[in-house]
Symmetry: C2
Subunit: 114 residues, 2 copies
């Protein structure tokens, strides 16, 4: 049942894996959701919205989302610097699904804490 690790085996569920990797991780879901709610957020604003995230993880997560073409990064070359983040078109395609997931989560939480 075991050989070596593969990045993405050619099974029918490969795309499930692919997608999960792109939105998995500790903060990606929330960041995408906040960007959906606010359209545009600056680096510091995002940091304040995600409780207790470190600058390291905030930057790292944003870089990954950017690399996967889910988030746009717009730099204003001013002093002090200003950077705005927003969803790309591809990123926006994920919103219906995150929305669905959020509703499901709400329902489950409600069931658990009556």
């Amino acid at each position: 049942m075991k050989k070596t690790q593969k990045e993405c085996p050619d099974t029918p569920t490969c795309s499930v894996d692919y997608a999960f990797k792109r939105i998995g991780g500790k903060y990606k879901g929330r960041i995408l959701w906040y960007l959906h709610e606010h359209m545009i957020l600056r680096y510091g604003e995002l940091g304040r919205k995600v409780p207790d995230i470190t600058t390291k993880m905030l930057t790292q997560t944003l870089r990954e989302l950017e690399k996967d073409n889910l988030v746009d990064r717009k730099v204003y070359h001013e002093v002090p610097p200003k950077v705005e983040y927003s969803l790309t078109e591809v990123g926006k395609e994920l919103i219906p699904f995150i929305s669905y997931l959020k509703e499901w989560g709400d329902k489950q939480i409600e069931k658990t804490n009556p």
Copy 2:
């Protein structure tokens, strides 16, 4: 920007986090999808469907899904033993979203490998 870790801060996105934790992890997405495709699968069948998973991770993942009430476990007390896994009603509610995610993944993969 940092105090201490909380399990689930009372923010509007709490439920996004909640949901992601329940379907995150390396194998949960695929296992839920396979159970959706086949309705009922035995332990060994699942193991064969998920490439390279170890018995440890298969058992552990199934136990978590069971605990979160996403998967049903039916034991037949025979020799040799037989255990069947299937989606619960709550688990089935996640299928539309995994389905959406899968289609999105397929599209992205297609774009990347033309």
